[in-house]
């Protein structure tokens, strides 16, 4: 059969070369340089919300997480920053994700954060594809894999907002730095991973590189050059029947430049420079009842230890500052339980507590409130895996108004209805 066809082919070829037959197109035209098939995976996620709160927006902007955040208007991020900031309707973000295999050696990911009037590169990084021995290199700007929650995007979170201790130590956008990361997965039956990151350390809540100058040069701190931050972690996981456990230990260490309104000389403003070390331990348990129903428990404890030289504006005397060494010892945890009841419904609760909040300077005991607590409950309805409606109620006892005599607690009650939609080629999520 094949030889017969071949004979026919050579015959027609002979006829062609002899000029007896015109050449026939086997495929119709089109652009010979078309590259449409090389289009990378593109997806867009939209997040919007409607909020009811017992404090007015203005009052809310004045509230702080004592020892962690400064009132809005200062450059430091705030627990209720750009997302879900206002009572009523909020357009929180559009997240544009573009990713593809570059070549046999690299993958590329780009995550853009689209605001109403802003465009920001949230993440832009490569990962290697061909390094053997279980090693992988990642480079660019990316969410640190510190702890359990930090590497997850906002739309992967089980609650609308970040846990209190994360928001307090890193801000709502978490630890997101320019740098490199090397991970190693051990060649064992059990999952064991070691990772290290080396990055600029620009996070203004705990690290920061920008210098500052105030009071006509009486306070003058030079910026620090990067790379400024080292992060390391170990993670391991075991399966026991239908139960999966994942645990991790993490550490972040770097120089800091803290500046909470020192230029303006406001009451309670402070600034300093020194070093910060943050350690964390995390544990996640997921139990599968069947293919659809599952229960997960997740808890993390984070601790910050910072020390250096600082300046403090006296509470009752604006524009008068003292210079003294400072120390920060702050720690807190969150514990959350989320259950998936059926294909569409998930429910969960979270308990946040910061139980250590000590800042000190010589000759004075810290007066910052301890026991900052928040309770959160949520219920989700997911018509499909691409759309989600979430109702969240928060009773927040962690917010205070910073006044000249000291901190005054302002408990907040908040109800959020959130919608999150994803279109396009959006990649699957990790565990």
């Amino acid at each position: 059969m094949r030889s017969k066809l071949y004979t026919l082919y050579t015959l027609s070829l002979a006829a062609l070369t002899a000029g007896l037959l015109p050449a026939q197109e086997t495929q119709s035209g089109g652009n010979p340089f078309a590259q449409a098939k090389f289009v990378p995976d593109i997806s867009l996620i939209l997040d919007a919300s409607c909020i009811g709160r017992n404090h007015s927006d203005e009052a809310m902007e004045r509230l702080v997480l004592p020892g962690f955040t400064a009132p809005e208007g200062n450059d430091a991020a705030h627990a209720h920053g750009s997302s879900n900031g206002q009572r009523g309707f909020n357009l929180n973000y559009g997240e544009l994700v573009i990713s593809s295999i570059v070549d046999p050696f690299f993958d590329l990911f780009l995550v853009c954060d689209l605001g109403e009037e802003s465009f920001a590169i949230e993440e832009a990084y490569f990962t290697t594809r061909r390094i053997p021995w279980g090693l992988q290199l990642k480079g660019g700007k990316f969410l640190s894999h510190f702890g359990r929650l930090n590497s997850m995007h906002t739309h992967q979170w089980d609650f609308v907002d970040a846990p209190l201790i994360y928001a307090g130590l890193f801000g709502e956008s978490l630890l997101n730095e320019k740098g490199v990361r090397l991970t190693w997965v051990a060649p064992l039956e059990t999952y064991f991973m070691l990772g290290g990151e080396f990055s600029q350390g620009e996070n203004s809540m705990s690290f920061g590189r920008d210098g500052f100058s105030a009071f006509d040069g009486q306070i003058d701190v030079k910026g620090s050059d990067g790379p400024n931050l080292v992060v390391a972690y170990a993670k391991s996981s075991v399966d026991i029947g239908h139960l999966t456990l994942l645990g991790g230990l993490s550490m972040a260490h770097g120089k800091n430049r803290i500046n909470h309104g020192i230029e303006e000389g406001e009451a309670l403003a402070q600034a300093g420079y020194g070093t910060t070390t943050i350690t964390a331990v995390d544990l996640t348990l997921k139990y599968l009842f069947d293919s659809i129903r599952c229960l997960s428990l997740q808890a993390e404890y984070l601790h910050r230890n910072g020390a250096g030289d600082g300046w403090f504006i006296e509470p009752l005397a604006e524009r008068l500052f003292v210079s003294a060494p400072y120390e920060q010892r702050q720690g807190g945890f969150y514990a959350q339980m989320v259950g998936r009841l059926n294909k569409r419904v998930r429910m969960g609760g979270r308990f946040d507590r910061i139980m250590q909040n000590d800042g000190s300077r010589p000759g004075e005991t810290a007066s910052m409130p301890n026991h900052l607590t928040r309770y959160t409950a949520m219920a989700e309805y997911n018509p499909t895996e691409f759309s989600r409606l979430r109702l969240q109620y928060t009773h927040d006892r962690s917010l205070y108004e910073a006044t000249a005599p000291g901190y005054i607690q302002k408990p907040a009650n908040e109800i959020i209805l959130q919608i999150n939609l994803a279109i396009g080629a959006h990649g699957a999520h990790a565990f």
């Binding site: 999966t244 659809i292 599952c294």
Partner: protein
């Protein structure tokens, strides 16, 4: 001396163990075929359990450890694993099984897929743009998959060629014998009409010319609404439906309701090796599917 010999024997046994081709498969049915072809030259591990919904496997970190040490990863393909496997492969970062390397075998490349959608939109539910991915439930496709796995094993471990060929021949012979029996048993169901929960068994049913009137779920991956159930009831009323076929992982309340209302037997159908007791291997899986439909 005796102890020394035992030590040597142990060392040899251990090194033989180490030289085995480490195969990871996404689903247990692939593992069952690969074990029968590779036998003592391979070590096979399936990531997903047969009792889980194959579309939404929980991507456990322990899978990363498995993928990290694999020489060969065999997947179902046709995007059945799209919701759980890619991040695991990225985290395991094993160049041997990366996309484009010879240690990744996509079985869907060897078969003709049904229901390839002409246009793709999520308005139609969780559709698979490459076609229906449950092709392995056509018993005539299994020999093709066995051949593809054999060819891959020979490519990766040439010194086992004779053994792999021998095992394949034995597998194919046994399969054809079983297939003849299954075909004759299924003959009596030729032409009947059924309802499926999800489009799981289309390949199996079309082989025996069994008509699928509708699916219980509204659209692929989207649970039924009460309006959809009402429409189904109207359809069933004017038609003779032989079975309602329900998979083992989706809620069966809607199927149960329809079955009770119209007095149609609801049959729980296994979809993979290990999904139900009695479906412990690739032969037993089809044995069980045929048994549940024909009762013999």
């Amino acid at each position: 001396m005796k102890k020394f010999l035992i030590l040597i024997f142990l060392a040899a046994a251990l090194s033989a163990q180490a030289e085995r081709v480490q195969i990871v498969t996404t689903y247990p049915y692939i593992a069952s075929i690969a074990e029968q072809i590779g036998q003592e030259r391979v070590r096979v591990h399936a990531l997903a359990g047969g009792q889980w919904d194959p579309h939404t496997i929980l991507p456990k970190p322990s899978f990363i450890a498995r993928l990290r040490r694999a020489d060969l990863l065999i997947i179902n393909g046709a995007q059945l694993e799209i919701g759980w496997l890619p991040p695991l492969m990225n985290q395991a970062n094993n160049p041997k099984i990366a996309v484009g390397s010879k240690g990744l075998l996509d079985l869907s490349r060897f078969v003709q897929l049904m229901d390839v959608p002409a246009s793709v939109s999520r308005a139609h539910g969780d559709i698979h743009p490459d076609g229906n991915p449950h092709y392995y439930l056509d018993p005539a496709n299994i020999p093709i998959l066995a051949q593809a796995i054999t060819a891959k094993l020979i490519e990766m471990d040439a010194s086992g060629t004779t053994l792999y060929r021998k095992n394949l021949a034995a597998f194919l012979q046994a399969w054809n014998e079983h297939l003849a029996i299954w075909d004759s048993k299924m003959e009596k169901l030729r032409g009947v009409t059924v309802i499926e929960y999800h489009k799981n068994l289309d390949y199996f049913l079309s082989r025996y010319e069994i008509k699928i009137m509708a699916t219980v779920e509204l659209l692929p991956g989207i649970p039924p609404t009460s309006k959809h159930i009402q429409e189904l009831e109207e359809k069933i009323a004017g038609c003779k439906v032989c079975y309602i076929l329900q998979d083992i992982y989706n809620p069966d309340d809607a199927s149960r309701h329809l079955a009770a209302k119209f007095n149609i037997p609801m049959v729980k159908m296994p979809h993979d090796v290990g999904s139900v007791p009695g479906a412990e291997g690739i032969f037993a899986l089809f044995e069980e599917i045929v048994r549940r439909l024909t009762h013999d």
